[in-house]
């Protein structure tokens, strides 16, 4: 798809985005004009009235009350126009249409979980149907996060112990960035996700299949998929770089030394325990920061991840 963005703004991919963009460019061009007037006047005066003789005394200029008044009144009027426009759009951004399709969003350090009305779940990939009002009901499991899709021009903070919401109506199929914009710690910048906008039928099929068929996937492939979906990659690399957690490369079968002094070989059982109960054995040089939420993975998923890790040599 052709990118339709401009110098200043990314492509507008939701129904409300063009409205916000025209407001943006309205304010932008007024600002450019005001800025140009100030700078041009300044430059003209600097050249025209430069000091020619050391002891020259410039003539007395009577202050112009009308001029003084005009740069109070004109900006005030401009501001009121922009304000009115701005808050009307703001209200539209804040009020989801009643027929919206609701998706629950849970944010935690450092991934996004999406849950659909039928219980289908996905991590870091938000699939939505094109041309339909979608409302996200969001909450956080730990600190503040903020849900931001630049292409849709929507953003809202996500808080623990409280629900907040955004809504949008995607106008074309494709993938868009989701960023976390409220600082949340080490991997704040790694808390990325994607919105995948699908045709309605494709979307329905995907939701009803429970997030895509995985039963017939071979375990290593399923593991690779989970590695992406569960956002393991945020902390565990597979190319050998040590981010904030041990890399998966060469992990299987290696000797692990723990902070409590013990050692163990990284076999199936060790990895299984590390996924389900991450703080049981913390490897030297790392902090116990892995969330406990992976204990909800089912048996086949754990096996798939172990198979996947075994392959990273």
């Amino acid at each position: 798809m052709e990118p339709k963005g401009t110098l200043w703004l990314p492509p507008a991919e939701s129904t409300l985005a063009p409205e916000i963009d025209s407001l943006f460019y309205f304010v932008y061009w007024i600002s450019v004009i005001i800025f140009a007037l100030v700078v041009i006047a300044m430059l003209i005066f600097v050249v025209k009235y430069r000091r020619r003789k050391a002891d020259e005394m410039p003539p007395h200029v009577e202050e112009n009350k009308l001029l003084e008044l005009s740069w109070i009144v004109v900006p005030t009027i401009l501001c009121l126009i922009v304000f009115t426009w701005g808050f009307q759009s703001f209200l539209r951004l804040g009020t989801a249409p009643p027929d919206s399709y609701e998706i629950t969003v849970r944010a935690k350090k450092w991934l996004w979980e999406f849950e659909y009305p039928n219980g289908t779940r996905a991590t870091n990939e938000l699939r939505v149907p094109v041309g339909r009002n979608v409302r996200l009901v969001m909450s956080s499991e730990d600190v503040l996060h903020s849900f931001f899709v630049p292409a849709f021009r929507v953003k809202h903070d996500v808080m623990p112990n409280r629900y907040t919401a955004v809504w949008f109506n995607a106008t074309s199929e494709g993938e868009q960035h989701i960023f976390c914009t409220e600082y949340c710690g080490t991997q704040h910048s790694g808390m990325l996700a994607k919105v995948i906008v699908l045709p309605q039928e494709e979307f329905t099929e995907w939701v009803e299949s429970g997030g895509g068929k995985t039963d017939d996937l071979p375990l290593p492939e399923y593991g690779a998929m989970l590695y992406q979906q569960q956002a393991c990659f945020t902390c565990h690399s597979i190319d050998g770089t040590q981010v904030i957690a041990p890399t998966f490369k060469g992990l299987y079968g290696s000797q692990r030394a723990f902070v409590d002094g013990g050692t163990a070989t990284a076999d199936d059982n060790y990895i299984r325990e590390s996924i389900l109960n991450p703080t049981a054995h913390v490897v030297q040089g790392f902090n116990p920061i892995m969330p406990a939420s992976y204990s909800s993975l089912d048996e086949r998923q754990v096996s798939a991840l172990i198979e996947f890790i075994e392959l990273q040599q």
Partner: protein, 564 residues
């Protein structure tokens, strides 16, 4: 360059001769500096300390930019990066920008603008310096004792659950706040009670007006950050459950508390800069500031309205839509007095006699950069646009245009303007101009790309970014080097001036405020050899007419131009 005219006035030289006793040389021991209650010496001590803070904050900024030069890891890991940008913010905001102009030039210049011997409470003044130093030491302890990675905003609950050296930093901010309060009280009382005979409110310099407005904000807003920091400290230490949602607290309440101080604090940082710019534009255009009353009162209006707009930092944080709308409206209102100032400064140059010396270059640079900063601020105040721009690089760039393009540029302009008065030495005009241009271009190269990055969706406080942002980040990093080169040139130029600079005349710029017309460079220990009696306004250049000479300023007057 001043030989012709100086002889004309030498006969009138008063008892104090240049090169004889002044505030710098009348007593020279280290202890005499550490225990001084002379506002000029305290100003100089602040100048040195704040320069060190600015240097530390600046190095941290360069590290941030260097890390962001390429995608992924460039020089440090994510944890280190988070600590570096947090410390950059904390050092720059609480230890540099908040004290900056009032502490350095407010201390040095304000009493002289008022024709006073000192501030109202000289000992309190010294105490606020040491309290500030205590706050600075606590920050540095926090820097070395562990990792502070909460950003300068300390948002709960992140700050109440992350590494414990946040405790040091909350205490440091609390302590530094006292310094700010003491300075504010001191200046308000000084302006009310210490004015020279004849110095009516209408003859007050615009710098004094802006310091007055700033001090009132300092007195009224700083206690709130004090209590916020106490509550955050208690939250962290005793788990009191006021801010932490996991204990039933409300993180949005923390944001309200924090911004109730921190938005007025923005005006604590920028209002003094407005004052400096007025002081620069008037003598270098040789015209009284157009719309004096509007400019003076707009400072007070900004100070007042500044208390009512804190909620515009929280449009997407979960405060009610009604409060967002009210805060947005008042945010525009505060743009108006600011615009009035900019228009009046430009109008002052109309039919003036414009002298492009280094301080004036900084003033013009300020007008350019601050106008961008102000207009981007208006864009951020538009509710629907802010939803898109909030917490992106657009915001980062906006406040750097205001804080660095505004406050720091004004401080540099003020430094070059008052340098001859403070040190009694002139600096190399050519080098200083080159530095000013380097800073101007470096600044724009650093921060203009960030405006585009932000509106394209690049979130702030990111250690890494998606590929489409790479080129603009690279440009910004290169800009930061040009900017740093410019700042180091200023440092070199001023150090050279200290060692080799020509002796400064009393009034090298032909300015009409009392520190230039009635005092030597550098001033005597008690500022004036005789109590000034004020008979004209601060920008009444007409009365100085017969002292203009040399290369166009008051260089003809090496001694104070006092005649009976």
């Amino acid at each position: 360059m001043s030989h012709t005219a100086s002889s004309a006035h030498s006969a009138e030289a008063t008892a104090t001769h240049q090169g004889s006793e002044n505030y710098l040389n009348h007593i020279k021991t280290v202890w005499s500096w550490m225990s001084t209650i002379d506002h000029k010496r305290i100003g100089v001590m602040y100048m040195i300390t704040l320069s060190i803070m600015f240097f530390i904050g600046g190095i941290l900024a360069l590290l941030v930019r260097l890390e962001l030069m390429t995608q992924g890891q460039t020089i440090m890991g994510p944890d280190a990066y988070n600590q570096v940008f947090s410390m950059h913010g904390i050092v720059m905001v609480f230890l540099f920008l908040v004290p900056s102009i009032p502490a350095i030039f407010g201390n040095f210049v304000l009493p002289m603008h008022l024709g006073a011997i000192d501030v109202a409470f000289p000992r309190l003044n010294l105490a606020s310096y040491y309290v500030y130093l205590g706050g600075g030491v606590l920050v540095l302890l926090g820097l070395f004792a562990g990792s502070v990675d909460s950003g300068w905003t300390f948002y709960a609950p992140y700050s109440t659950t992350t590494n414990s050296s946040v405790l040091f930093l909350t205490m440091a901010v609390f302590v530094a706040g006292f310094s700010s309060i003491f300075t504010g009280i001191n200046f308000v009382v000084t302006i009310h009670k210490m004015r020279a005979p004849g110095l009516t409110w209408n003859r007050l310099s615009l710098f004094s007006w802006s310091i007055y407005a700033t001090s009132i904000v300092q007195v009224l807003a700083t206690p709130v950050i004090g209590i916020t920091m106490i509550l955050l400290f208690a939250e962290r230490f005793l788990q009191i459950g006021i801010f932490d949602p996991l204990l039933g607290g409300d993180p949005v309440l923390y944001q309200h508390f924090f911004w109730f101080y921190s938005h007025p604090a923005v005006y604590i940082m920028i209002l003094p800069a407005f004052g400096v710019i007025s002081e620069l534009i008037a003598p270098f255009s040789r015209r009284a500031i157009s719309g004096y009353k509007f400019v003076a009162l707009s400072s007070v209006a900004i100070a007042f309205l500044g208390f009512l707009v804190w909620g515009h930092h929280m449009f997407v944080s979960g405060q009610s839509a009604v409060s967002s709308i009210v805060f947005s409206l008042i945010t525009y209102l505060i743009g108006i007095p600011t615009g009035v100032k900019v228009c009046n400064w430009v109008a002052t140059m109309y039919k003036g006699s414009i002298w492009l010396k280094t301080p004036m270059l900084y003033a013009l640079s300020f007008l350019f950069l601050f106008t961008i900063g102000g207009l981007t601020g208006i864009m951020l105040g538009v509710l629907a646009i802010d939803v898109h721009l909030h917490d992106t690089y657009f915001v980062v760039s906006h406040f750097h245009y205001v804080m660095m393009g505004g406050t720091v540029i004004a401080a540099l302009g003020g430094l070059h303007y008052w340098w001859p008065k403070i040190t009694g030495k002139m600096y190399s005009e050519g080098v200083a101009r080159v530095a000013a241009l380097l800073i101007f271009f470096g600044f724009n190269l650093t921060f203009f790309p960030q405006l585009i990055l932000g509106s394209q969706g690049m979130p702030r406080r990111y250690y890494d970014y998606v590929p489409e942002f790479a080129n603009l980040h690279l440009a910004s990093t290169i800009g930061s080097w040009v900017l740093a080169l410019g700042l180091f040139t200023v440092l070199g130029c001023l150090i050279h001036s200290l060692m080799r600079g020509k002796r400064a005349p009393a009034n090298p710029w032909g300015a009409a405020t009392l520190e230039w017309t009635n005092a030597t460079s550098p001033p005597v220990p008690h500022n004036f050899s005789a109590q000034p009696i004020v008979t004209h306004g601060p920008y009444d250049f007409e009365v100085l007419r017969d002292s203009f000479g040399g290369d166009g300023a008051g260089q003809g007057a090496p001694e104070p131009h006092i005649r009976n």
